[in-house]
Amino acid sequence: MAPARTSARAIDGAGRRHRGLPGTAPTFDPEDMDAGNKQLGTRLPILPEPSGGEPGGRALSRRSLLRAVAIAPALALAAALPALAQEPPLVAAASDLQFALPDIAESFRAETGQVVRLTFGSSGNFARQIRQGAPFQLYMSADEAYVLDLARDGFTRGEGVLYAVGRIVLIVPHGSPLEPDGSLDDVAAALDEGRVSRFAIANPEHAPYGRRAAEALSHKGLWAAIEPHLVFGENVSQAAQFATSGSAEGGIVAYSLALSPRVSALGAFALIPQDWHAPLNQRMVLLKNAGPAAARFYDYLQTPAARAIFREYGFVLPGEGG
Amino acid sequence: MSPPEGLHVRLSQEAPIPLEAELSCAAGEILALVGPSGGGKSTVLRSVAGSYRPAVGRVEVEGETWFDSEAGISLPAHRRRVGMVFQSYALFPHMTALGNVMAAMGHMPAPERDERGRALLELVHLAGLEERRPAELSGGQQQRVAVARALARQPRVLLLDEPFSAVDKATRQRLTREIADLRRVLSMPVVLVTHDLDEARMLADRMTVLHRGRTLQTGTPEEVTTRPVSAEVARLVELRNLFEGRVAGHDPAAGRTMLAWAGLTIEAAPRPELAIGESVSWVLPDGYVVLHRRDRPSRGEHENPVKGTVEAALAIGQTAHIALRPLSDPSLPIHFSVPLHVAQRNGLAPGVEAAVSLLAEGIHLMPPAGRRDERG
């Protein structure tokens, strides 16, 4: 059983920790200690990963040798570890999936026993890293343009598939002078009256949700007025964090984030009309070096079970109305 | 011809430290290397020890060649059997006194080191202090540890770099006596660097004067301090009565050479080879100036009498140091000292007239200032 998940899920509380099988994440729980060790054991160069192609196999054993040399001193400190198998596949996911995807991954693991490692960030940033050789196996973008560019440049297996359509919302923290008004009329008024000092969106340069937020604000004619007050998050998750932290009067973030229990507890939100911005066609694709585990997860994401979770987080599914 | 035993050093370079030095020291002999600070003495010592490598030269010790620039030989310091006592002692602060001494015994079998180390510490009167760290020892005790450590190496040559400069006078005198005592045990050449001439006189068999890296004169301390080869050396050995004169004539019958100086004619020890009219410098150690005593006149007053006015009379302890300006040329003070009671009885005070005799045997002639006497 290969463990190793991001700790995103591990700390939430006793209930979550024990959901599913032991070894979900490195924890202090004695039951999990063995799994924790197994986690460490994946660093041992025992079996090459089952990846396609001979170059990969040869390279991996050399890579394993290198790892052994680099880690040998540190191993002297580690307890004797049972030799273990493969590393779970790495998924690069747009930040709007911060809460939705772990739920899906959890359910995937419950069903198949397979664990995946999730990393969240802005879609544009991931696209850049992938071009530089980052070891992701599955890329879930919030903007299909990135996926199609990568496909065209030969980094992917095909063009992937549309997995969801996202929405943006206006979010205001508790105690903010702004109203959760999706038509942004109140924001306009607030700008006039000087009630707005800071407003958070994701960075339009490389975060799709940021770009859509900018489009919506422009559509409403507020861009010029609000631009000096804007605070940019590296990704939409950080934007949500800024928006709800109390140091900003509010922001425009992903619907999927606002719906999550953690964020919704911090403020109120309202949907912004979809036609105020280009659609958030969220596309995912397997990358060139993807293994069978990643492929299985890719398939799982398109099953009804996964789609149900997407729906839970406010995503519109391809083929269904918004 | 250089005899095989002993230390022979010849060094030459222009930069960064100018050197033009030559010295020798026989086994069991103490050679004092004197000169003003910055004169290159420490550099010479370090060249012998091997921590400095001059451009050109030779260092030979007991028949071994340690450094020969022409032959391309330069033994690193740790392969030379040299014992060095540094000005600051340079003890290893993290080792005990015994540890410091034993650190130099790498060439001896391990079981013997402890015993021999203790014996050495006893030799320098430090028995009982073996376990102390340098920080727990006084300056004089540290110096002794440094000496013991230098000896522990069983060195072929012992080098002492101003070993007494860092201690107070009383300790210095005691240590000087102890080094003098140690001489009986020392069978290797010893080079002692100092700027203190009294120390040199007390301890050394021979003395070399070094200035700006050049050896100016080598000889017994007595020779060098009373018969310097040049005015420069005279100044370096602290001879104050240094004057210019002109050879006036020779008197072979009386065994005298006459000098014209300060409007007077002075009789000096004979130097028949000097031409009449030739310019010379001459020097007279303080001890050869004799006061004409009003309370006790003597025949000696006929030898080179000089009348003058006392310019300064400084009492230091029980000695009065007098500067006398000759009447015939008040620009030239003559320095001498007398016991304080004599000065008082003769009423010597600034402004008072007095007369002295300059003893001919002490007058030493040298080439005029700026030239070195090759005959010297």
Partner: protein, 222 residues
């Protein structure tokens, strides 16, 4: 508490100081003992990571061994992975940006040994290696240890360079510092707080230790 990230951070710091120990002793000793043309430049280069913004350093590291660079491609052809986004890449970056933290205290440690003491060691018949072992290291060890402690603590805390060169790959390059950043973005303040206070405690301990050692450098040779 992300134990994977913590273990990763500890491993990164540990491997870094393993490399920096000999490198620092060599460089610190060289700078302490010798004067040579260009020494000022050498010392400035050693100090550079102290003043350079981490992102500038990270940028140049990417240029130097990113996937597009000759070094990166050489690495890729030998080992099959890029140098960036890997633990090995982090180790390389970490060794480089910790140079001043390792070298400068070690240099001070060696400088504190009077030149005459070193000459005395040679006059006692100790070869350079013997002098190093018996005299120099025992006297310079507070400086050496300070260098190690500072490098270790600094590596644990480094963020910008690690993020740029390593990304945030769990189990591979997601150190504790990155994990904290990640937890904040995930609205997981509890985890972020936990890991932050751990890093704070480690940093405080490191600073206290280095001050204690600095005092010893002075006392030892006093």
């Amino acid at each position: 508490m992300d134990w994977t990230a913590l273990w990763l951070s500890l491993r990164l710091a540990g491997v870094t100081i393993l490399f920096l120990l000999p490198l620092g002793i060599w460089a610190g000793r060289l700078l302490a003992y010798r004067d040579f043309p260009g020494k000022g430049l050498a010392e400035a280069l050693v100090a550079l990571p102290l003043v350079l913004p981490p992102t500038v350093f990270g940028y140049y590291l990417l240029v130097a061994f990113g996937a597009a660079s000759p070094l990166g491609q050489l690495w890729q052809s030998v080992f099959g992975t890029p140098l960036v986004f890997t633990f090995e890449g982090l180790v390389a970056a970490s060794i480089l940006f910790n140079i001043p933290f390792a070298v400068q205290p070690m240099q001070r440690g060696f400088e504190a040994i009077p030149a005459e003491v070193r000459e005395a060691a040679a006059c006692c018949g100790m070869s350079p290696w013997q002098a190093l072992a018996k005299v120099e290291l025992p006297l310079a060890w507070p400086g050496i240890l300070t260098g190690m402690v500072l490098s270790f603590a600094h590596t644990l805390g480094e963020f910008g360079i690690v993020l740029m060169v390593g990304g945030s790959i769990p189990g591979e390059t997601r150190t504790v510092a990155i994990a904290i950043y990640d937890r904040v973005q995930a609205f997981d303040d509890a985890a972020a707080a936990e890991m932050s206070s751990l890093l704070l405690a480690i940093s405080l301990a490191a600073i206290a230790l280095t001050f204690a050692f600095s005092r010893r450098i002075g006392r030892r040779l006093g």
